[in-house]
């Protein structure tokens, strides 16, 4: 039941346009015509590459900075630590749309419109990741960190050589969630990117499917949807074990 729409999407994208209306799952013949049309009309390959670059950079940034800030908030002693934590927590309650316009103005001032920087840099730090890392690091015994200090580790080495290898579930969870969110993001790229060569896949596909360039050809639209969903599906199947495990074990405590 759950999987039926996916199966139909896949099979319909491979079917001739004339058979789509019947909603049959098994097409009479398999054709890649829809994909061919798609490839001819829009630079979907380039968009895929853009999406991979953007989502990977964002994910890496979130993991690196999130763990650094999470570590500082959970293990370092400094004045105002908890205040900073609550401010970060507070930013989670702000809807994206409130910051949308100020962020756009910033991008214009920085001259980042129509560059990768606009897609990547604003997303590299993320309150959710910081909080997840903070909570996860709190569950790691202080003695382990002390032992590392005595062995000669600085704070960065503690984070990346001691804590990271022992936080795989957290890293994978945050990684997947961030990657998916970044991959699926449409609104922000629509605002800051106009150059087709820099567009991410969802942006391009949305413009293509909704924007009218598909010329109401349902098969082609479906083909673009398949290509859009495929990487995430593959990633999810690959990391499913970690994903479920860490969702179950590292939810927000306290």
């Amino acid at each position: 039941m759950f999987i039926y729409p996916f199966v139909w999407m896949l099979s319909a994208s491979l079917a001739p346009e004339s058979e789509l209306a019947t909603l049959t799952v098994i097409p009479s013949e398999i054709t890649f015509e829809n994909y061919q049309v798609l490839l001819d009309k829009i630079p979907i390959g380039r968009a895929l590459l853009n999406s991979v670059i953007v989502a990977s950079s964002v994910t890496l940034g979130v993991l690196v900075f999130g763990s650094m800030i999470g570590y500082a908030l959970s293990r370092l002693e400094f004045r105002g630590r908890d205040t900073i934590f609550y401010i970060i927590l507070f930013t989670m309650t702000l809807p994206f749309h409130i910051t949308l316009i100020p962020n756009y103005i910033l991008m214009v001032k920085f001259g980042w419109v129509d560059t990768y920087a606009a897609l990547i840099i604003p997303y590299m730090i993320n309150a959710f990741a910081i909080i997840m890392f903070r909570q996860y690091f709190k569950s790691i015994p202080q003695d382990l960190i002390d032992a590392a200090k005595i062995d000669g580790c600085g704070e960065l080495r503690i984070i990346f050589q001691i804590l990271w290898p022992n936080s795989i579930p957290a890293l994978v969870t945050i990684g997947i969630i961030t990657f998916m969110a970044s991959w699926n993001e449409v609104l922000w790229p629509l605002i800051v990117i106009r150059d087709e060569q820099l567009m991410t896949m969802p942006q391009l596909v949305t413009l293509f499917a909704v924007g009218g360039r598909a010329e109401s050809q349902l098969g082609v639209k479906l083909a673009s949807a398949v290509l859009l969903a495929l990487p995430i599906l593959v990633a999810y199947m690959f990391f499913q074990k970690y994903f479920i495990q860490s969702m179950a074990s590292s939810g927000l405590k306290e």
Partner: protein
């Protein structure tokens, strides 16, 4: 190896709580010193300040001749063994032991030689490629010891290393750590709340309470001449029996006349100033007998008729519990004696301890 000198070291937390108060002692080169006390007495905080894991609020800390107050842990040339082992779960035993050396950019051959040598000393040769998760508690603690040994540090710090092990293993490891101390000629500072560990391993014991040092002495001196009631009660197992009372003439009279002991002349002189004043008398369980036939100094025993609240045969000894006024007392007696419910115990009047009732200082 080197000596460690603490000069009036204090730890005051931001909320004003003074965890360690003007602690002052020197650990000699190659000495095994045990810091002991009940939980919250500041012993672990003291150790963590020596390690560099806690800031020192006041005072000076020297390792060797160097003032190390502002040195981070890795520059102090110390190694530490933790209560919960603190091994890196993602590394093998070998990697765990070599990690600190790698960070110090030691040549590979030297690292290998040291790791193998340490593995031999603590008998870990077979486990070198296993991860800590697959090892038992005792093996893990050995790896933690090995990690400290390979560093060949100036000072070894132990933070309750045996507390997570079961009783039998604890005895084994106790012996091994003592052996290791001899073999490595190491300076060791060892924190525990277990007075048995302190008594059996230490060259000297430092006993702490509420952030203050109570007494620094060798185990035997501390056992025989505790400076105050706290030390007397803490060192020795089962703990010393106490009774409030006063001196009247040449007698000690327990409160409510529960007990009267004619004091030997050595105590009479010692307590001359306390005539008529309230004091606390203490006697160790081993100095209370159930049978005194065959004792040489039979005249120094004082009989006390009682009924026993509990009898614990331990095999090599038997503990008898009985009431002395409001206090529960325990006697440690020969396991062969026949115990009946109502019976007489004998207190050795030459083995008493006396404390001021207000200050609890030994008299």
């Amino acid at each position: 190896m080197a000596e460690v000198k603490l000069e009036k070291i204090s730890k005051v937390y931001e909320d004003g709580f003074k965890a360690v108060d003007q602690v002052d002692f020197i650990v000699q080169d190659k000495e095994f010193v045990v810091l002991v006390g009940p939980s919250g007495c500041g012993k672990s905080t003291t150790l963590r300040m020596i390690a560099g894991l806690e800031d020192i609020s006041e005072g000076k800390l020297y390792i060797g001749d160097t003032l190390v107050n502002d040195f981070p842990p890795q520059q102090r040339d110390i190694a530490m063994v933790f209560q919960n082992y603190a091994l890196y779960p993602h590394m093998t035993v070998r990697q765990n032991m070599a990690f600190g050396l790698k960070l110090r950019r030691m040549p590979k051959d030297e690292i290998n030689a040291r790791v193998m040598n340490a593995a031999r000393i603590i008998g870990l040769d077979d486990l070198m490629n296993k991860k800590p998760g697959t090892l038992s508690g005792g093996q893990r603690q050995r790896v933690a010891l090995g990690r400290a040994i390979v560093r060949n540090p100036k000072v070894f710090l132990f933070d309750e290393p045996l507390s997570n092990l079961d009783a039998k293993l604890r005895v084994n490891m106790r012996l091994e750590i003592a052996k290791l101390h001899k073999e490595l000629e190491a300076t060791i500072i060892y924190v525990t709340h277990d007075q048995t560990e302190a008594m059996t391993m230490a060259d000297r014991i430092i006993i702490m309470k509420d952030g203050l040092i109570q007494q620094i002495d060798s185990p035997i001196i501390m056992y025989n001449n505790p400076v105050n009631k706290f030390v007397a009660g803490f060192i020795g197992s089962p703990q010393m029996n106490f009774l409030d009372g006063k001196i009247e003439g040449s007698d000690f009279i327990g409160e409510n006349n529960v007990l009267k002991i004619h004091l030997p002349s050595k105590y009479q002189k010692q307590l001359a100033d306390y005539a008529g004043k309230n004091i606390i008398m203490g006697i160790r369980p081993k100095d209370i007998k159930h049978v005194i036939e065959g004792e040489i100094d039979i005249g120094s025993y004082v009989a006390f008729n009682t009924s026993f609240n509990g009898v614990e045969p331990m095999g090599n000894e038997t503990f008898l519990y009985f009431s002395m006024g409001d206090n529960e007392w325990v006697a440690r007696v020969n396991p062969d004696s026949v115990i009946v419910e109502k019976d007489t115990v004998y207190l050795n009047s030459h083995k008493l301890h006396f404390f001021d009732q207000k200050t609890e200082i030994s008299l």
